[in-house]
Amino acid sequence: MTSTMTETVAAPTAASRAGISPWLTFAVRRGGQFILSLWVLITAAFLMIHLVPGDPVRAALGMNAPAELVEARRAALGLDQPLIVQYVNYFAKLFTGNLGVSTITNEPVAHVIATRLPATLQLALLACLLVLLIALPLGVTMAVATRGSRRRGLELTFAIVCVVFAAIPEFLLGVGLVYIFAVNLEWFPIAGNDSPLGLVLPVIALAIGPIAVFSRIIRVEVLSVLGQDFVRTARAKRLAPRKIYIRHALPNAMTATLTLTGLLISGMVAGTVLVENIFAWPGLGTMIVQSILSKDYPVVQSVVLIYGIGVLLVNLVIDIVLALLDPRSTIRES
């Protein structure tokens, strides 16, 4: 009791009287974290090529490649320079948008990524949208319907269905969908993104697992919010139940939901890799697997970097939205 009191008395005015807006403190702190993460990510991507046991160029070109070719390729990649020089050069190149060239095709990596990124984004964003559109109402409805140990049968069924769907990996689901709807029923194309219909199966394959996980978590979140004191206060005001759920429960459950959205999108990145490979989708996912198999390190390096930056950006945006939604989070941490 004692400590909470100190905190609640002290917390509000501290930042405001120090003359710095809590928003500014938040922006500086969060921005700093983003830049730091970015630096770690870029460094990790840079180091990857040096962590590979043996000579990456030799590994990529194969044992039978002539020594001159290997040397020439090493020089072209700048691998013959001291590590620190390479490191600085890597940063310098990144800022000009130069991601190097593929060791296999000699194509500029930036160009390859630019042609493939939209396909992946299309898939991931649509799947995310589908997850939120289904999981959010489903989770809230289940929470309201099963609160206070009501409808235990429904609760159990829901839990089991969710666990089962969450345990089926995307690629199996994808294959199953292809087998049923593309091969046997021939409703949708088997692979590729030539028609809008081609989107249906991959998006569903991507979304079903996250829907199962998400709606369950949202149900638990909403239930825990419904059990909190301020919901009891809202009920004591005798507001209509709809208003209690929409005005009081939902905004508070949203904070947890948004945090989860970050995880969802991270998970979606992994999902796209597998699903793209099943549906021969011309995105980054098919490319990274081909590159790993063919040891095309500059490509792997850059794709990992792009995925990573995407994840960092998503988390940044979510933190900002969270701060707008819940005024405590900005002040509490500053």
Binding site: S149, P169, L172, G176, Y179, A236, R238, A240, R328
Partner: protein, 652 residues
């Protein structure tokens, strides 16, 4: 719950039992399958390649004519082994990273925490792909890749959990006694986080199984001639049009095994969190009170705002229904200040919540009469009740911090009460909110209405809560421990505010408190509750001189005052109140009562009117000037708590 029983209850729940059986089957297959079907799986039959299912080969044969079913069964070993090794790597590295901050110097600790925070945001599979690129394709690379990809989330989990443990006082106590940080970590922190770590590792094993399948499927996991389920799956998928069964077999194996680990972990987690459904319980119908038509107060007297008769609150538990409130009857008159006092578990707060219709399922409220402002609240339509209670009943709760919605401004939270029930416009309601904040003397009310709850101090928040109740025209204010979370000086201010509101608006006040002195100072009448019943109801003026129930007497006796004799030991009520499920047959206080007789242990006394405005539920009420002498716990000899050594001066 004892640990062994707790783990047994996993097996008892149907889902847990299924999961345990599945995990056992997977484990047995992993060990014995190669011995049983090894030859069959390697037997190449060039004549019978790529066959469909037959009696001989249930799942058909592969490109070399080998039996797919045998291969699926044998692949269990490698699949499970890889998953387990990866989890061991992930948990070990994660735990090391997670606990390191508590033993490292501060700068190093911050560095580790920072790195983990960045790594945890990174998708696991991507990390695995990155590491697969570094380690090269193959089983070893995949194991390290998946294991290390798991490490950041385990590190974060360990960090969060050990931080929670480190904040607790037993860690401070150990540190104060000079126990080293490493020893504290090993002896106190790790044992307390081991259980959730193991549970999460089980779930992670399911995840790892699927991740390996994914990697092998992509061709960057296990390489020929070795095979795991993922490898078999991708072989099967190539021929899915010829023989779907060859893909179906490994797919089912992966999903079932993954599911088994997941479910086992989930059930274990819910047991560890104490929320397992050990068998289902249903609500038996409450026995209907036989004589609904003949209430003890035949007519509610004029001027009564709240009339409660034989109120009961019940909750289902695995061991049947318990009744934390067992037949409470009282009335609140207009403009009256009534206090309810009792220790924790006496049912006083539940009585208040039941009276205001705020008990939620699975709790059940039942009463012979629950009448507020002339409306029967157990039978009237929901809409009537909402309108009535919304305008005429105000609640003030214990913790002003958690009782406001943290995401909305104070002003709008006040305003919505008037908008809902008076049809006021948002603007008018906001004006009224500011006016009410001024009325409860919140300084700079206009500005503060625009602030969020966390910007208020505890006392100011409680004022705002009272102001919220005043947005409509309450006839009764129920205040449930409104000052318990506040300092004494602030407590006095809030009590005075309630008193002023009462005199200004003639609203009655029902004040719930554990502090008998607070109630005696701020109310006209007091109800003393014990184990879900009212044991005494008397005017506060008579409390210190005329209380007749031994419990009331004892309560007054044990509270030290500013004039308590310091030479004498403090009074103690031996024993503790019965838990709601263990209320004895007779008077619930009998086991602790120095005056208890056989009658007290056999039948529960009714709350009977003793004198005008004084009711008491006791077979042997204490006389006017009797003093109940309570035993004190001497340090000389240990004494069992159940045997009170008590004397009653001048009783008989």
């Amino acid at each position: 719950m004892p640990t062994r029983l707790k783990w047994l209850s996993i097996v008892r729940s149907p889902v847990g039992a299924t999961a345990t059986v599945l995990v056992l089957i997977v484990a047995l297959l992993a060990i014995f399958a190669p011995l049983l079907w090894g030859a069959q799986a390697e037997a190449i039959d060039t004549a019978g390649t790529q066959q469909g299912p037959s009696a001989e080969h249930l799942l058909g044969t592969d490109a070399l004519g080998r039996d797919v079913l045998a291969r699926v069964l044998i692949a269990t070993q490698l699949s499970v082994a890889l998953a387990v090794i990866a989890v061991v790597i992930g948990v070990t590295v994660g735990t090391l990273l997670g606990t390191a901050p508590s033993v490292l110097p501060r700068w190093a600790a911050r560095l580790v925490v920072g790195i983990v925070n960045i790594a945890v945001a990174f998708p696991g599979l991507l990390l695995a792909l990155f590491l697969a690129a570094v380690f090269g394709v193959g089983a070893t690379g995949a194991v390290f890749a998946i294991g290390l990809a798991m490490a950041p989330s385990f590190a974060r989990l360990t960090q969060t959990m050990s931080a929670a443990i480190a904040g607790r006082d037993f860690i401070s106590a150990a540190r104060a006694a000079g126990v080293s940080r490493l020893r504290v970590l090993i002896r106190h922190v790790l044992p307390n986080i081991a259980e959730p770590l193991i549970v999460n590792a089980t779930v992670a094993a399911g995840g790892a199984l699927l991740a390996f399948a994914g990697l092998s499927f992509l061709g960057i996991g296990v390489q020929v001639p070795a095979y795991d389920w993922g490898k078999l799956l991708s072989e099967g998928l190539n021929r899915i049009y010829i023989n779907p069964a060859a893909a179906f077999g490994p797919a089912v194996a992966v999903v079932v095994a993954g599911l088994a680990f997941n479910l086992l972990g989930e059930t274990a987690a819910s047991v560890a969190g104490g929320r397992v459904a050990t068998g289902r319980w249903t609500l038996p119908p409450l026995p209907q009170p036989a004589t609904r038509t003949v209430p003890a107060f035949p007519n509610v007297s004029v001027g009564t705002i709240l009339s409660i008769e034989n109120l009961r609150v019940s909750y289902p538990t695995p061991n049947g229904l318990v009744h934390p409130v067992r037949g409470v009857s009282f009335e609140v008159r207009e403009g009256e200040a009534l206090g309810v006092v009792g220790e924790s578990g006496s049912g006083k707060s539940l009585t208040a919540l039941a009276a205001s219709r705020l008990i939620e399922p699975p709790g059940v409220v039942d009463a012979d009469r629950l009448e507020f402002n002339g409306i029967q609240m157990l039978t009237a339509p929901e809409k009537t009740i909402r309108g009535l209670l919304g305008t005429s009943l105000a609640m003030v709760f214990q913790d002003p911090m958690t009782s406001f919605n943290p995401t909305r401004r104070i002003g709008s939270q006040l305003a919505e009460a008037a908008q809902e029930h008076q049809g006021m416009s948002k603007k008018d309601a906001m004006k009224r909110a500011v006016k009410q904040l001024q009325a409860v003397r919140v300084p700079a009310a206009t500005r503060r209405a625009e602030q969020y709850p966390h910007e208020f101090s505890g006392g100011m928040r409680q004022r705002a809560m009272i102001a919220m109740g005043l947005m409509n025209r309450p006839k009764l204010i129920i205040a449930d421990e409104p000052t318990t979370a506040l300092d004494v000086t602030v407590q006095r201010q809030v009590l005075r505010l309630l008193e002023r509101v009462r005199t200004d608006t003639n609203a009655a006040i029902l004040l719930i408190s554990h502090d008998i002195a607070v109630v005696s100072q701020s109310c006209e009448r007091v109800l003393v509750m014990y184990a879900g019943r009212v044991v005494e109801d008397l005017p506060t003026a008579e409390l210190y001189t005329g209380a007749r129930h031994p419990y009331t007497r004892a309560l007054l006796e044990v509270v030290p005052d500013l004039d308590t004799d310091r030479e004498q030991p403090l009074g103690v009520i031996p024993g503790r109140p019965p838990a709601p499920g263990e209320v004895p047959l007779g008077c619930a206080f009998a086991a602790r009562c120095p005056l208890a007789t056989v009658q007290c242990r056999e039948s529960d006394p009714e709350l009977e009117t003793h004198r005008d405005k004084h009711r008491v539920a006791c077979w042997n009420p204490v006389g006017g000037d009797t003093r109940v002498t309570l035993p004190e716990l001497s340090t000389a000899a240990p004494r069992t708590e159940a045997a009170p050594v008590a004397t009653v001066g001048g009783a008989q």
